[in-house]
């Protein structure tokens, strides 16, 4: 811990003690507490580090004239100090503990009403409850009573914190009693007697908690609904967190009340109640008695009268993956009912037991609220498909058929009618929410076994959606995703006839000209993604690419994408650039000869880099070259790529958008790695010091020299030098790391070779100035002039070029290590330091309290 902080902490405590002293801002105390927590976690002990805190705590405790925020802070601080056994002892000795955690004390002072104080009390208590001493104190002071009262506090924050604390109490009881059981043999008699006593304490606490839960779970009147919900949430949390013996105790205690609550079937309680039951159910063995009762409860919930509640219950059961097969099979049936009724596809056999529910749901489907019910049904189809096929109410193929029919019914232009519920059609037609849910379900269903047969049907429906003028852009996007998914899983696309393909092509072509940019964007993205779908095999063992099957190949997509490069919307331009990269990637990998088309694209992309007003497009353009470079098996043989590099790098690193700059540096990194392939794959950011680098080997120098020259020619070095002085920290950091890497490789070898100097030009005058400034700060050597004069001598640089710098010299002279350490710290690290916080508190207090300095206070107010 900073000694400076320790030295001013007592003054800070003094300031905090003075009631009414103003703090710099509301979060100061929280920050202070955070700092103390860090100290407590990392250092030996909080009290050792800051001995003045005990004094502070006791002073506040005895003088509750302090503001409620200070009191709350003090309560939490007390908890933090008492969390360690040593601290606890100290607090106990100075009798602060009893006073601070005595609710009576605060009630008498009239402060208990303030939720701020209550939350301080609870959180302090929660922090302190880390060891058996604390638990004994908790039990002896009978703090369980006030804690239980706070469980349904009117303040939600207080209630929630109280829930957490109660859970903490029980967990501590549980862990200590298990230690008591297992470790008692090794302990001496005295210790044993203590643990006996504490065990009694535990059971007392547990009994009280159980009684409390049992009493409060039952809903007596509707006004208690929020309280009941809170208790159920607490119970669910407890059942998840506590272990077997304690959990069984709790469960047995509340079982009757839960059963009673299920029969009241209050809609608002359905979800929290289900959470409790499912939480309880998850860890129980199948043969135990409570398990049977829980299963019965779940059955009861699945047979409630309100269809919405039943659907929710069924969905929760399925999601919980609980083991009872009959229960999950029934839940699946319940969830599929709306789909069955709406589409008339008989997913469920008629002679099933859910006749009554069918009638209720059919009624509900005639109302507008049918939308949410259908969406619940559809969004749970993924869970249903995960079930074992023998438990499914029908083959997955039938579900696909039903979803397809539903999609047809939802489509405005379709004239298909359903043999199912007719009334529902008016609500779902053109409803994009249902459409999206159904498409999402269809996406998942692509994995189902035996559904490949319906690919043609799926394809037809999706084409219909893509073609429909009333499809929302989000629906179009989803449709495209489904196409990709289905095409990706279907091994054979020979069923796509020419007619289907033609319809699909027309739809895609039309969407590429859509008036809504979102639709154009999704279309362009789709064209890119389609390339990445793996090839498939036809019956005739021919390898075919889905892109060729669906759209007739790159002949179709590249012109569309090139058009999209001119799109008025920058997102579309950016997407089209990415899609072009995806589309051309295979030809890059194969090393296919460049076409005129590709040359045009490169020219257009350079134009984007130079002229596009939006960052998205420029970022995509840089990434295009990155993708090209990474895909290319031998970039150096691709003249166009390497020719473009200097332009891309110099333009990219001088961009206004920091992400463009960063992407440019990533490209530079690729080039760097390519120039100096690393034999030992070390961490890319590892900094190699000059000392531990290997000695130069003969021949290495000349290789390095030529690689370095290449780097300079490609513009990598100047880009990095430009980047390292960038005002955007991530950019400068990245450049700095790369320069360090370069230094690590180059300098040890080149140092010994004075005659092999490599010079590079810096793009802008400002960059040069900054580099010079760094040089001056570093060492007093005139690299530039020296470099140029030597260059003159060697004839490398014919005229004196003030923008020319020697690479190795710059690398050596720039204090990159220091720069790196500055850059790795976040830009606000000074403002966020504990010292700064303490100083702020002092300054604010000084500004507000001392008399005779009013003018300064005004000044501060003014500045504020």
């Amino acid at each position: 811990m900073d000694s400076q902080c320790v030295s001013i902490l007592p003054r800070v405590c003094g300031v905090l003690l003075v009631s009414g002293s103003s703090l710099p801002d509301d979060t100061s105390l929280e920050k202070l507490l955070d700092w103390f927590t860090t100290v407590a976690q990392t250092g030996p002990s909080l009290l050792e580090a800051c001995p003045c805190l005990v004094d502070f705590v006791s002073k506040v405790a005895f003088n509750y004239a302090s503001g409620s925020s200070i009191l709350s802070f003090t309560l939490k601080l007390t908890g933090l100090i008492g969390a360690s056994e040593d601290g606890f002892k100290v607090l106990k000795e100075c009798s602060v503990l009893k006073l601070v955690f005595n609710p009576q004390h605060w009630q008498e002072a009239g402060l208990w009403e303030d939720p701020c104080l209550r939350i301080g009390w609870i959180q302090g208590l929660k922090m302190i409850l880390q060891h058996s001493e604390a638990l004994s104190f908790f039990a002896q002071a009978d703090l369980i009573e006030p804690l239980l009262q706070l469980q349904t506090d009117p303040s939600l924050f207080v209630a929630s914190a109280a829930n957490q604390t109660l859970a903490q109490v029980l967990l501590l009881c549980q862990s200590l009693s298990s230690v008591g059981h297992n470790g008692s043999k090794n302990r001496d008699l005295e210790h044993n007697s203590v643990s006996m006593e504490t065990t009694q304490n535990y059971s007392g606490i547990i009994t009280k908690v159980s009684e409390y839960l049992n009493k409060s779970v039952v809903l007596k009147e509707i006004s208690q609904l929020p309280g009941s919900q809170q208790i159920l949430r607490l119970l669910a949390m407890l059942l998840v967190r506590v272990g077997p013996p304690l959990r069984d105790t709790l469960l047995l205690a509340v079982m009757n009340s839960l059963e009673e609550l299920v029969t009241t079937s209050c809609s608002q309680l359905t979800v929290p109640l289900l959470d409790v039951i499912l939480a309880a159910n998850s860890g129980l063995r199948d043969d135990c008695v409570p398990k049977q009762r829980l299963i019965r409860l779940l059955w009861a919930m699945l047979n409630m009268k309100k269809p919405d509640d039943v659907m929710q219950a069924a969905a929760a059961v399925l999601r919980s993956h609980q083991s009872d097969p009959a229960l999950s099979a029934h839940s699946a049936r319940v969830l599929l009912l709306p789909l069955d009724i709406v589409t008339g596809v008989s997913l469920l056999d008629e002679n099933s037991t859910e006749g009554e529910l069918r009638i209720l749901i059919t009624e509900q489907l005639k109302r507008k609220s049918c939308i949410s019910m259908i969406c619940v049904c559809l969004s749970n189809i993924p869970q249903i498909t995960l079930m074992a096929s023998d438990r499914l109410p029908c083959p997955q193929r039938l579900i696909v058929t039903a979803v397809l029919l539903l999609l047809r019914l939802c489509c405005v232009d379709s004239s298909s009618s359903s043999p199912g519920c007719v009334e529902v059609v008016r609500f779902i037609t053109g409803n994009s929410k249902v459409q999206k849910c159904a498409l999402e379900a269809l996406l998942v269903l692509s994995k189902s076994p035996g559904v490949k047969m319906v690919l043609v049907e799926v394809f037809k429906v999706l084409t219909e959606y893509l073609n429909s003028p009333s499809s929302d852009p989000s629906v179009l996007q989803k449709s495209y995703q489904v196409v990709i998914k289905w095409v990706g899983v279907c091994p054979d696309l020979s069923c796509i006839t020419d007619q289907l393909r033609e319809g699909f092509i027309q739809a895609v072509r039309k969407r590429a000209c859509d008036t809504r940019w979102e639709a154009r964007d999704s279309t362009v993205e789709f064209l890119g993604h389609l390339v990445e779908v793996p090839s498939c095999w036809t019956f005739t063992e021919q390898e075919t690419e889905p892109l060729d099957v669906l759209l007739g190949g790159r002949r179709f997509t590249v012109p569309l994408l090139k058009e999209a490069l001119q799109d008025p919307e920058s997102y579309v331009r950016a997407s089209s650039i990415s899609a072009l990269a995806q589309t051309l990637a295979p030809s890059w990998q194969d090393g296919t000869a460049l076409t005129q088309e590709q040359e045009d694209i490169v020219a257009q992309l350079q134009e984007v880099l130079f002229q596009d007003s939006e960052g998205f497009a420029r970022r995509a353009a840089v990434k295009y070259f990155t993708a090209w470079f990474s895909a290319c098996s031998s970039p150096s043989s691709c003249w166009l790529l390497m020719q473009s590099m200097p332009t891309v790098l110099s333009q990219g690193v001088a961009d206004l958008d920091w992400e463009v700059k960063l992407h440019t540096l990533e490209l530079a990194e690729l080039l760097l790695d390519r120039a100096f392939p690393d034999p030992s794959p070390s961490h890319s950011y590892a900094v190699m010091s000059d000392q531990d680098h290997r000695l130069p080997i003969a021949g290495q120098q000349s290789d390095l020299l030529s690689s370095l020259k290449n780097l300079v020619d490609w513009g990598v070095v100047s880009a990095l030098l430009c980047g390292v002085v960038d005002c955007d920290r991530p950019v400068a950091l990245k450049a700095c790391q790369l320069l360090l890497k370069l230094r690590g490789i180059v300098c040890p070898v080149m140092d010994n070779a004075a005659d092999t100097r490599v010079f590079c030009q810096l793009a802008g005058a400002s960059v040069l100035q900054q580099v010079r400034k760094i040089q001056e700060i570093g060492k007093d050597t005139h690299v530039v002039s020296e470099a140029c004069s030597e260059a003159d001598e060697e004839g490398i640089c014919a005229s004196v070029d003030p923008e020319c710098v020697g690479v190795c010299e710059v690398l050596r002279l720039l204090d990159l290590d220091e720069k790196l350490s500055i850059l790795t710290q976040s830009s606000d690290h000074i403002y966020n330091s504990p010292l700064s916080l303490l100083q702020d508190i002092l300054t604010a207090a000084a500004a507000s309290s001392p008399p005779g300095q009013d003018s300064r206070q005004e000044l501060v107010m003014d500045c504020y």
């Binding site: 405005v412 004239s415 009618s417 007719v422 008016r426 003028p469 590429a512 000209c513 008036t515």
Partner: protein
């Protein structure tokens, strides 16, 4: 009140309302779908159309080679196209007092009604309706007269023969009422009867009713009409729109409290959302142009075209179509584009404000200035020298049977690069294309119909709450092709009254009140007495005079001095009797108080019996009955006049007298 329905077309209505001794025709729509049965009229000699084989029945028994031609597997009438007129036999058209026009599409039959029928009334319409209506009529006449066809086919209309004809011809109805297009002279004569009105302007008809147009939001100057007397209100809703397009927004609130609302002109494309269709139009257009093809848009010369041009104005930049020429070809193209800019007061607020800036309300002016949009009266002349491809051509007529569009269909139909985009919802596009088959060019159907859809209309009706709704029968059931869409029909309580062509409906409300004026001197003589707070009553004796549907109470003329002259005496033989009227009574007799009063007057033995309407008091000693009922009091008392009089006076004490 009666409604005579002369047209069965829901969006081209023609109804006659008889209301309070006035006969009002509501709209005068011309059903032009009949032209689809005729061969196209090519502007340039078409070898294909001129060499079509004549139609002979399969067994050869029927030979109508001259009148009917076979084309693309269908039979078409080879004569000048004819239109299906509104019914003219249902009532005597000369009795019509006024014709109210709601928009320029609904007045195309006007010359057939106002000319040669004895019509002497007035036609009311707004200025844009008249001017643009005139343009559309002029265009129609021009289209027909440019390609004169001497032949008039009538044989096929013979019932016996028509029965044996194939395809749609066999099922065509009312073929004998079909008429050839009117002449320009008839148009001028018909339009000379139009009197211009402005929105919310009140026009008195014979003092009986007041009519007033309201903005309907559908097209420039389009209106709904309110026809009301002092106590009755009939609303006539024709093509209306709630979408934000170029016209002034719809005035909905004035439709409130109608006794009857006649609802016509809903969207013909209830499932096609205009925004989606506009998007579809643009993307198909861009797609075709990018592929190097031409786009043909068959359309009317006014209306949706303004919105299309506005949409394209925004779209062409973003879709890189900057250099593609747009042509608008119509005999009235220039006037239509210019008229639209000058009707500022009829435009939506947004466009109205532009009038005060140095900026025309519609952006098509800029398209013309920058030479992106060029307009020509026809394909002949300048156009042929400036024509560049690929291009976009807007031209009429949307039926593809006459007008310049016929030429472009012949020209571009064979290439699959070209696209024809239908935006007008009036014609089935497949029927329109029938004589051009087989067709290689792409066809896109984007009907843009901004009129109210069922969802909007049910919301509107919920808001304005008319007592009764009358509508075409088509609106009372879902469309035939989408019978499962129960949301595509009107569902109202009470159910709407449907009508079809030739229906005569008795509108279900009785007139109960009439406004009567009192002359000042008569009013002065009245002595009102307050019967309850705020309500005063007075008796009046007067003479009721009715003239021009105005009713006035005048003082009773004093009895003339006896025999000033012999001649007069004969006239005034029976002068009105002026007797002082008995006072009128009002109020109720309170039982308890009345019994107490009786007791005061020595009548003690009273037996009170409760009846359905009140009470019967039996005065046993006097053997007298007093029946106290809600609307009368009877004293049954035999041979004891003094007692009756006393009892009467006692009863009268409790009642107010006038």
């Amino acid at each position: 009140m009666k409604l005579y329905c002369l047209s069965g077309h829901p969006t081209l209505p023609c109804n006659v309302l008889k209301f309070k001794s006035t006969t009002v025709m509501l709209d005068c729509g011309l059903d032009t779908t009949s032209v689809l049965n005729f061969l196209p009229l090519p502007l340039v000699h078409s070898p294909r159309l001129s060499k079509l084989p004549g139609w002979v029945s399969k067994d050869g028994s029927l030979n109508l080679e001259k009148e009917l031609k076979e084309c693309a597997g269908r039979v078409f009438v080879d004569s000048q196209p004819e239109f299906c007129l509104p019914e003219r036999e249902l009532l005597d058209l000369s009795t019509i007092d006024v014709i109210l026009i709601s928009n320029y599409h609904c007045m195309m039959a006007l010359p057939y009604i106002t000319e040669h029928t004895g019509f002497t009334g007035t036609v009311y319409a707004t200025e844009p309706t008249l001017q643009i209506g005139r343009l559309l009529m002029e265009e129609l006449v021009n289209f027909m007269e440019r390609v004169p066809k001497a032949q008039s086919a009538t044989c096929w209309k013979n019932k016996e023969i028509q029965r044996m004809l194939p395809g749609p011809l066999k099922d065509a109805v009312d073929v004998w009422t079909w008429k050839r297009c009117y002449s320009m002279q008839e148009v001028n004569s018909a339009l000379s009867k139009v009197q211009l009105v402005g929105y919310s302007q009140k026009v008195e008809l014979f003092g009986a009713v007041q009519v007033s147009p309201l903005s309907s939001g559908y097209s420039l100057g389009s209106s709904n009409w309110i026809i009301q007397s002092h106590h009755e209100k009939v609303s006539y809703v024709s093509g209306s729109s709630l979408l934000t397009t170029h016209p002034q927004p719809m005035d909905q609130s004035s439709l409130k409290n109608s006794d009857v609302l006649i609802l016509t002109g809903l969207t013909q494309m209830p499932t096609a959302n205009p925004d989606g269709m506009l998007g579809e139009f643009c993307s198909n257009l861009a797609m075709t142009i990018r592929a190097g093809g031409n786009v043909l848009v068959p359309c009317y010369s006014s209306g949706v075209i303004y919105d299309l041009l506005e949409c394209l104005y925004q779209f062409i930049e973003s879709a890189n179509l900057g250099t593609t020429p747009f042509y608008f070809i119509s005999p009235v193209a220039n006037s239509s584009l210019e008229f639209s800019q000058i009707f500022a007061e009829w435009l939506c607020h947004n466009k109205q404000t532009k009038v005060y800036l140095p900026e025309p309300p519609f952006p098509h002016a800029e398209l013309i200035q920058t030479n992106k949009l060029k307009h020509y009266p026809s394909i002949h002349g300048d156009f042929s020298s400036e024509f560049r491809q690929p291009c976009v051509v807007f031209t009429g007529h949307p039926s593809l049977r006459f007008g310049d569009v016929v030429h472009f269909m012949e020209l571009w139909g064979k290439s699959s690069l070209n696209t024809v985009i239908f935006t007008e919802p009036d014609f089935s596009y497949l029927d329109a294309l029938a004589p051009y088959q087989p067709l290689a060019m792409k066809c896109v159907y984007c009907p843009i119909d901004t009129r109210l859809n069922f969802h909007q209309v049910s919301k509107l009706l919920k808001e304005v709450q008319p007592l009764h709704v009358v509508c075409p029968e088509q609106y009372t059931q879902p469309p035939l092709t989408q019978s499962h869409r129960s949301d595509l029909m009107l569902e109202l309580q009470p159910p709407p009254m449907p009508y079809r062509r030739c229906s005569v409906l008795n509108l279900p409300f009785r007139r109960r009140y009439e406004r009567v004026y009192i002359l000042p001197e008569l009013a002065n003589s009245l002595v009102p007495s307050e019967v309850k707070p705020g309500v005063s009553v007075a008796t009046v004796s007067a003479v009721l005079q009715s003239k021009d549907n105005k009713h006035t109470l005048q003082s009773v003329p004093k009895a003339p001095p006896v025999a000033p002259s012999k001649k007069r005496k004969r006239v005034m033989e029976e002068p009105p009797m002026t007797m002082a009227p008995k006072p009128l009574l009002s109020g109720a007799v309170p039982l308890e108080a009345f019994l107490a009063t009786l007791q005061k007057h020595g009548i003690t033995e009273v037996k009170v019996e409760e009846t359905a309407d009140g009470h019967i008091l039996h005065l046993q000693a006097e053997d007298t009955l007093i029946q106290l009922e809600e609307d009368g009091t009877h004293i049954v008392c035999d041979n004891n006049e003094p007692l009756r009089a006393t009892l009467r006076d006692l009863v009268l004490r409790f009642l107010q007298k006038l």
